[in-house]
């Protein structure tokens, strides 16, 4: 247990150092091209210093070259994006598992056509989904004068729609993965034994299959965070909402980049570590280091 916590902490700092290094490297390409060890080093020092002393951190725009203190304005951008991101993350995980539960308890005859069409939808790129949603919103507005949601928000904070769009594709992906995992578990003898003992499908799924599949599913969480994060940037851009990607793209510098990514990483690190440890504790398998 102690070893596991230590291991997680080392990993946490490695990721943060990695983000700082990559951001400093990118700094050589921002607002001009200054490639060289010297400029990398000064970026590294500057980024580390301003991260250690965030109150003094300064952001500037590309064009007007106006400067301002990052805090407290940063929270404005950050709170919005992290809310959407975390909400989409939980929607993804729960709807993914929920869908696999439904496809487990219902007979195959009913679920197969759904499964086929869902796995087709899963293959679609996110830009297509965003296009369809925006277009439908406009069509509805044109014909009925009802604006379902403000499609180009800027300072208006829309929550529900971005969360649904963001979670849509990853949910299907996670559902696909968990169906595969469940399928793999179903062939193991303990499930046959449980069925033979007359246990209900829900009990078998919720209590026995999930506890065994949890470890496998944990391995797929990180790619999902990565997809969510990449898609969030595109989504915020296309819906023109002032979230974290607006902050990064409008005030580009190694500091703002590193700060934003680290601040996004921290809550996910907490979630991953807590769920990792609680799964190991609850289900008593050997701890694994993700």
């Amino acid at each position: 247990m102690a070893k596991n916590v230590l291991y997680q902490l080392i990993k946490f700092f490695l990721v943060i150092i990695g983000i700082i290094i990559v951001s400093s490297f990118l700094g050589m390409f921002i607002n001009g091209f200054a490639f060289g060890w010297g400029s990398f080093q000064s970026n590294l020092v500057l980024t580390t210093k301003s991260l250690l002393n965030p109150k003094e951190m300064i952001a500037e725009t590309i064009y007007e070259q106006t400067e301002f203190r990052v805090f407290p304005t940063f929270w404005n951008y950050y709170n919005y994006s992290i809310t959407i991101l975390l909400a989409a993350f939980f929607v993804t995980v729960f709807s993914g598992i929920g869908l696999s539960y439904i496809s487990y308890i219902l007979p195959k005859k009913i679920t197969r056509p759904f499964a086929n069409s869902l796995s087709f939808l899963e293959a679609l790129p996110d830009i297509f989904v965003i296009f369809v949603v925006q277009y439908i919103t406009i069509l509805i507005y044109k014909h009925t004068d009802i604006l379902l949601f403000s499609v180009a928000g800027s300072y208006e904070r829309v929550y529900l729609l971005p969360i649904i769009i963001l979670a849509f594709l990853p949910s299907l992906f996670f559902w696909k993965v968990s169906v595969l995992m469940v399928h793999q578990e179903l062939e193991k003898p303990y499930v046959t034994l449980a069925i033979g003992k007359g246990m209900g499908k829900t009990v078998i799924f919720g209590y026995h299959i999930m506890r065994n599949a949890a470890f496998g599913l944990m391995n797929h969480i990180k790619p999902i965070i990565w997809i969510l994060l990449s898609n969030l940037i595109i989504l915020e851009r296309l819906f023109n909402v002032y979230g974290i990607s607006h902050f990064i793209l409008e005030f580009p510098s190694p500091q703002t980049l590193a700060l934003s990514l680290i601040m996004i990483y921290i809550p996910f690190f907490v979630i991953l570590t807590v769920s990792q440890i609680s799964i190991s504790k609850l289900f008593g398998k050997e701890e694994i280091g993700t």
Binding site: F29, A123, Y135, V177, E187, I225
Partner: protein
């Protein structure tokens, strides 16, 4: 790899869509040299002038854009740059990371763990941001500041290709390392070693043949990822095919995709979704979607083919593992995870 991948219908359908798109675009280049016809004034049945941009109904099949260009030919000429560019990027990504991965695994085995760990940060660093910041100065902001590009068009294209190759190298290399690891755990490797097989012999005679089918899968995945990344960069106004400012139909100066490469078209045209001309936005989105879906179909075909061969030769358990691995489109990231857990 299956005995005959061509006989797989999914693979055949998926890859032939891409091939037809690419070669019809190439064909048009050789016949007409990328000339894009501009559409003159059109009249309806009552001899009244129609207002451009023309819709797909007024000027089939795709209508015209705000420069009065025939969109069918715009999409057609752009296809070869998008599909061809993604092909080159995915291929070089694969070859370079194969080389680095094999060298690290075979000759620098001890460094493996450090490398796998240091790639961890990339799991929280979206490739879109990485490539956007590497490219935005050369392709976008330099022009805004100085009104000219310091790099020639060809140099800019080469830089874009190099950046799109580099951004995926860390994760793809780790994937190759893990795949090699898996092959090295096979029992016969032990036999080869005790019979005196050197590392280079094992590499050439045993690892590479076993890696080959997996590499094909990785290649198609990289291809899909590249297409998506290009589309995303286009939305952030970084156009791989280069861009020039040009005054449009409404006398507004805009950055225009120089080569009509699709990601540039997406970036240019997304605003039209808010206007009365949504079909202009729809076209590049649609063609990106078709290309990605075709590639995914081909991928599924390859995986099915591998499975059928595997289940006839390998044990049942191995097939199960295979199906789990191949079920995930994010194979490379997942592989990274699982090896770490195994390593402990």
């Amino acid at each position: 790899m299956g005995t005959n991948i061509i006989s797989n219908q999914k693979f055949l359908l998926g890859s032939s869509v891409l091939i037809i798109l690419f070669f019809s675009s190439m064909g048009y280049y050789f016949i007409a040299g990328d000339a894009i016809p501009e559409v003159d004034l059109l009249y309806n049945e009552k001899q009244e002038l129609l207002s451009p941009p023309y819709s797909p109904v007024e000027h089939p099949p795709f209508g015209t854009d705000n420069f009065s260009r025939d969109l069918f030919f715009v999409i057609l000429t752009g296809a070869k740059y998008t599909l061809g560019g993604a092909l080159i990027i995915a291929l070089v990504r694969l070859l370079v990371s194969l080389l680095i991965g094999l060298v690290i695994r075979i000759y620098l085995g001890k460094l493996k763990k450090i490398i796998v760990w240091s790639v961890e940060a990339f799991n929280y660093f979206p490739a879109v941001l990485l490539s956007y910041f590497l490219l935005s100065w050369f392709l976008l902001f330099e022009f805004h500041f100085t009104q000219s590009f310091s790099l020639t068009f060809n140099e800019r294209v080469i830089i874009s290709l190099v950046v799109l190759i580099i951004v995926s190298l860390p994760t793809t290399t780790v994937l190759i390392i893990n795949e090699t690891d898996r092959i090295l755990t096979f029992e016969f490797i032990e036999g080869v070693r005790s019979l005196g097989g050197r590392r280079f012999h094992i590499l050439i005679k045993h690892i590479i043949p076993h890696l080959k089918p997996q590499l094909f899968v990785v290649f198609i995945r990289e291809y899909i990822q590249t297409l998506l990344l290009m589309a995303h960069l286009g939305i952030l106004n970084v156009f791989i095919g280069g861009s020039v400012p040009k005054a449009d139909h409404f006398q507004i100066s805009r950055f225009v995709s120089l080569s009509n490469e699709w990601s540039g078209l997406i970036g240019n045209w997304w605003q039209f979704i808010w206007t009365g001309y949504p079909w202009i936005t729809f076209l590049p989105v649609f063609f990106f979607t078709v290309s990605i879906l075709s590639a995914k179909l081909a991928l599924r075909g390859v995986e099915e083919n591998m499975l059928s061969v595997k289940s006839s030769s390998d044990s049942k358990r191995d097939t199960d593992i295979k199906s789990i691995e191949s079920g995930s489109p994010f194979h490379l990231l997942k592989q990274n995870e699982s090896s770490e857990t195994e390593g402990r």
